[in-house]
């Protein structure tokens, strides 16, 4: 990872109440790369995206994007920086009262005063790039899950961002849509000269497009490297995650206060199941 880092995290800690989510994370994301953040559900991946996007603040540690320390930015400066970021949300987060066209046009209309014909061209270019120019007039309720995700992708990149976040972009989609989204992420990253951070637990699809990956467990990074490095990792946790084994360092059973036999005895005595 010799390339210049666009995103840098240093010893980032974050907790929700008394529950620690991130326990000292260091991470360097090089400019121009597609970087995957993987790990079990509830492992703090989405929290990390929100920290990088500045919608959450860490309890300690530093997050720098393009050399700017997020903790030191004023709210206005943070909004300014976000104009250079795009995010694809897990459930698309399209504005339900706006058509596909207006959804994509939304950031442009809010930030610039463009003549209508120029705005149309910019929006149509992005819709064409995701293959949905023909769906411009449809409303979110009329779109399939995969189409909605593509419209949301067009909206995320309409301002030509330098940094694009993808939160579980493959979840809940059919195999064709998964393939389309994966190839779009790759193509858009190259075409826009952007850097992409991808949160996913879909190992195969993610490895097919990612240049580098991090595996997150227990609030720390347990393995990092190219997809090939990660597959060869000797960490038992990484192997359990990548191999999809139900039991291992991450136990199948959620910790219980009593052992199973004692719990059965007690519930039998009390005449109830729980």
């Amino acid at each position: 990872m010799a390339a210049e880092a666009l995103v840098e995290l240093e010893n980032v800690r974050f907790a929700r109440g008394s529950h620690p989510v991130l326990a000292g994370v260091d991470m360097h994301i090089p400019r121009g790369a597609i970087v995957a953040l993987m790990g079990a559900s509830g492992g703090g991946k989405t929290t990390m995206l929100n920290l990088m996007a500045g919608t959450l603040r860490p309890q300690s540690g530093q997050i720098r994007i393009a050399g700017q320390d997020l903790q030191k930015l004023s709210e206005d400066a943070m909004y300014g920086l976000r104009r250079q970021m795009g995010m694809l949300f897990q459930h698309s987060a399209l504005f339900t009262d706006l058509s596909a066209f207006e959804n994509v046009a939304f950031p442009l209309r809010r930030h610039f005063r463009l003549p209508e014909n120029l705005l149309r061209k910019l929006v149509m270019m992005k819709l064409e790039a995701v293959g949905l120019r023909g769906a411009a007039g449809l409303f979110p309720a009329e779109l399939s899950g995969g189409m909605g995700r593509r419209i949301a992708l067009a909206r995320a990149v309409v301002m030509d961002p330098m940094l694009i976040f993808y939160d579980e972009p493959f979840t809940g989609l059919d195999p064709i849509s998964v393939g389309i989204i994966a190839s779009l992420i790759k193509r858009l990253n190259t075409a826009l000269g952007a850097t992409s951070v991808l949160v996913s637990h879909d190992v195969e699809e993610t490895f097919s497009i990612a240049d580098y990956g991090f595996i997150l467990a227990g609030g720390k990074i347990i393995a990092e490297g190219s997809p090939a490095d990660l597959r060869a990792s000797d960490s038992a946790l990484a192997r359990q995650f990548l191999g999809g084994q139900p039991d291992g360092p991450v136990p199948f059973h959620y910790p219980a206060r009593q052992d199973y036999a004692a719990a059965l005895r007690d519930s039998h005595a009390a005449g109830e199941v729980l």
């Binding site: 919608t55 909004y79 976000r82 104009r83 949300f89 987060a93 339900t96 809010r110």
Partner: protein
């Protein structure tokens, strides 16, 4: 022993509530001040005034008409015993202008527009639309919350004025043609006993306060709802209940203050 438990519990509740009120007040203030934010849109404001105000008109007019007519009957029933039916116009006008107009407008507004406002904002939150907006560098307070808050604050006093007017007309229809009170006396008594600053403005000032409170509660409940289907439902119910009770409580405080 129960009392000893109760006192620290009360203290804990107060300690939880007070910071919450502070955060809600900051939310109100920064939303209202977002009118100066570059993402505040007057087009959105007019659209919301149309949605909240104009589309609540039929409800207000029907409710006001019936309220006025009932006041006519009820007032006549009481006044006729003292031979004072000439004061019926004054009674109807004062009841509507000072109390029933602002309070009923606010309660109906909470049910009609406040609930819709909470449901809209909370479902936008549940479907990540507010987060998406923030990621697109558009402040949701300025684009979503502020136009709705201002629309409520502007609409309620106007709706209240319309409520008063229609209510008085409903009262007139019952008093004069139906119950046979003299029309000239009805209007003349009303004109000489109702003051502009003391009665009409007082009522409209109350309506303004209620407008702030109802839309503030509705927006706050929506903005802080749990992002689930159940959360949206609960927030909507709580919004109407809290707003209605707050309006009634605040009405007592305002009446007591303005009365003296």
């Amino acid at each position: 022993m129960a009392m000893l438990e109760f006192i620290p519990q009360l203290g804990r509740r107060a300690l939880q509530t007070v910071p919450g009120l502070g955060v809600a007040s900051r939310f109100l203030l920064s939303s209202l001040l977002s009118v100066f934010n570059r993402h505040f849109s007057f087009q959105q404001l007019f659209r919301q005034i149309y949605g909240f105000g104009v589309r609540s008109l039929i409800l207000m007019v029907v409710a006001a008409f019936f309220t006025g007519m009932v006041l006519g009957f009820q007032g006549y029933y009481a006044l006729v015993r003292f031979g004072a039916t000439s004061a019926l116009g004054t009674l109807i006008a004062l009841s509507l202008l000072r109390e029933l107009g602002p309070v009923l407008t606010a309660l109906l507004f909470a049910g009609r527009a406040g609930s819709a406002l909470t449901a809209e904002i909370s479902s936008m939150k549940a479907t990540e639309q507010l987060s998406a907006m923030e990621m697109m560098a558009v402040n949701p307070l300025a684009w979503v919350v502020a136009p709705r808050l201002w629309a409520g604050i502007i609409s309620v006093p106007i709706l209240c004025a319309i409520f008063d007017l229609v209510g008085i007309f409903g009262g007139y229809l019952i008093s004069v043609p139906v119950l046979g009170v003299d029309g000239g006396t009805f209007w003349a008594q009303m004109q000489s006993n109702v003051t502009f600053s003391g009665d009409i403005l007082t009522g409209l000032f109350k309506a303004l306060c209620f407008g702030v409170v109802v839309t503030w509660i509705a927006a706050w409940k929506g903005y802080t709802a749990r992002p689930t289907a159940e959360g949206v439902g609960n927030a909507t119910t709580l919004s109407v209940v809290t707003a209605s009770l707050t309006v009634l409580g605040l009405d007592f405080i305002l009446t007591a203050l303005l009365f003296s």
